[in-house]
């Protein structure tokens, strides 16, 4: 069974489930409107209350001469610094037992990556707010050290720089040790190329990789592609699947390329492709 067949099979889901996906959004919009109205009413109510108190008792405003209660003595807090790293560094994070929800750090666009990379410079409150607002904390990134670990992993894999295909998104999977970096062409047709790369290094040969991948593998010439150790085309086995799959090794990282481009277009793009690291990525 293939992903394409599953996508087609989604046509058989119940009407009520499709309708739920619409009513839930409407309910949420309704709730947001209700909360806004409630907040506005609360502010208005507070204003009316204050105005009425002022009308009844003009001296109601805070009297600076009135004695104020002594501030409550606060017990001294424990000053021990919490451990800086809450997520294991990436070398060991990959060895963590399988979790219900795979931990992943996703950057939708290079700006998100840059915000993330700059976040250790924020003050403590702003840093915490940033980490929580983007749900990084749900994925094992809680401290500045965690951020630096992620940045280090992201910089350990080659970052393709492809003319006409800006960085679209990346996904670092902490459970599998893979980084997927995807690029999407601008314009109506939105072709894309995804590079799924292993963080760990490997020097396997084309034959070893082909044997591992099984049948339906064809070798493609890497002439003019000095960064690619080999290039293997894999059959998707599904004529309606718009994606093609290629296995390669770039700078000692095993890579699977997924693209909806034709082979000759992909090869031409790979020939013009330069490799850098994400922290030095300069757009397309």
């Amino acid at each position: 069974m293939t992903g394409n067949e599953l996508l087609r099979k989604m046509n058989d889901i119940e009407d009520s489930d499709i309708e739920l996906s619409e009513t839930l959004a409407k309910r949420r919009r309704g709730l947001t409107r209700w909360l806004s109205a409630a907040a506005a009413a609360l502010v208005l109510g507070a204003g009316i209350f204050a105005a009425s108190r002022l009308w009844k008792d003009p001296g109601y405003q805070h009297d600076v001469s009135a004695p104020t209660p002594a501030p409550t003595q606060i017990a001294p807090q424990a000053t021990a610094e919490p451990p800086e790293t809450t997520a294991a560094p990436y070398e060991t994070a990959y060895a963590m037992p399988t979790q219900d929800t795979p931990m992943q750090v996703i950057f939708n666009g290079i700006e998100e990556y840059r915000d993330f990379a700059a976040s250790p410079e924020l003050d403590d409150d702003a840093f915490r707010e940033f980490i929580e607002s983007r749900s990084y904390d749900m994925n094992g990134v809680n401290t500045r050290q965690d951020v630096n670990n992620v940045l280090e992993v992201m910089d350990s894999v080659p970052m393709p720089q492809i003319a006409g295909f800006p960085f679209w998104r990346s996904n670092l999977r902490l459970d599998t040790g893979d980084v997927t970096i995807a690029f999407k062409a601008e314009g109506d047709e939105r072709h894309y190329i995804g590079f799924n790369m292993s963080v760990s290094q490997s020097d396997e040969t084309a034959e070893e990789r082909a044997a591992e991948a099984g049948h339906g593998i064809e070798e493609v010439s890497v002439e003019g592609l000095p960064e690619l150790r080999y290039l293997l085309r894999a059959e998707s086995g599904d004529p309606a699947n718009p994606n093609s799959y290629y296995y390669t090794n770039i700078r000692s990282h095993r890579v699977t390329i997924v693209t909806d481009l034709a082979e000759e277009e992909l090869l031409s793009i790979l020939q013009g492709c330069r490799y850098t690291v994400i922290s030095e990525y300069a757009g397309d």
């Binding site: 394409n4 996508l7 996703i106 997924v258």
Partner: protein
């Protein structure tokens, strides 16, 4: 015009059925097609073909919910066209990604042959989607029925993109477990 009257127009073989369907659900179906095809021209063609298919199907069919009946046709036509777009070396957009994501769930499952097995898979998926908690279900349907991007889904439900990705990932994992268990057992593995 309400859906009941539009359906009556189909039954009466009145061509206004098509113009009324287009006026009421054209944009809805176009969005569904464009999510899959990422091409204005192809999506418009799919929507036009939708009215023709509906014309041929009603009667004898009498859809319970016209909008969903029509969008299912559009979706099927768009997925059919996706294959031919590939032959023409044109894009896959969000659908290509959705296929890739669902490929994770399908990995390791037995191949499905025959009408009975097809029906079994449909039953499994229908039951699976219906059993999900409401929010997970809605997110899954938006991603894999309407092929919406994670960004759009996040905006729709007021979530962060990370939260949408996490829910989808968790749901795909459950689906993978179900398919592996049910299909591979049926296949005698």
């Amino acid at each position: 015009m309400d859906d009941g009257r539009i359906i009556e127009l189909y039954f009466a073989r009145d061509v206004r059925a098509i113009t009324e369907s287009d006026a009421k659900y054209g944009a809805y179906c176009f969005t569904a097609a464009n999510n899959i095809l990422s091409s204005r021209e192809d999506s418009e063609e799919c929507v036009n073909d939708t009215w023709l298919r509906a014309w041929n199907a009603i009667p004898p069919k009498r859809p319970q919910v016209l909008k969903l009946f029509l969008v299912r046709i559009t979706r099927n036509l768009s997925l059919d066209r996706l294959g031919s777009l590939r032959a023409k070396k044109r894009g896959g957009g969000e659908a290509a990604l959705a296929i890739e994501e669902l490929g994770e769930c399908a990995a390791g499952t037995a191949d499905v042959f025959g009408e009975v097995m097809e029906r079994e898979v449909s039953r499994l998926i229908r039951g699976f989607v219906h059993s999900l908690p409401e929010t997970d279900r809605a997110v899954f349907v938006r991603r894999y029925f309407f092929v919406e991007s994670v960004k759009v889904i996040a905006q729709r439900y007021g979530m962060s993109e990370g939260s949408v990705m996490t829910r989808l990932s968790r749901t795909r994992k459950k689906l993978k477990e179900l398919l592996n268990k049910e299909l591979n057992e049926n296949d005698g593995k």
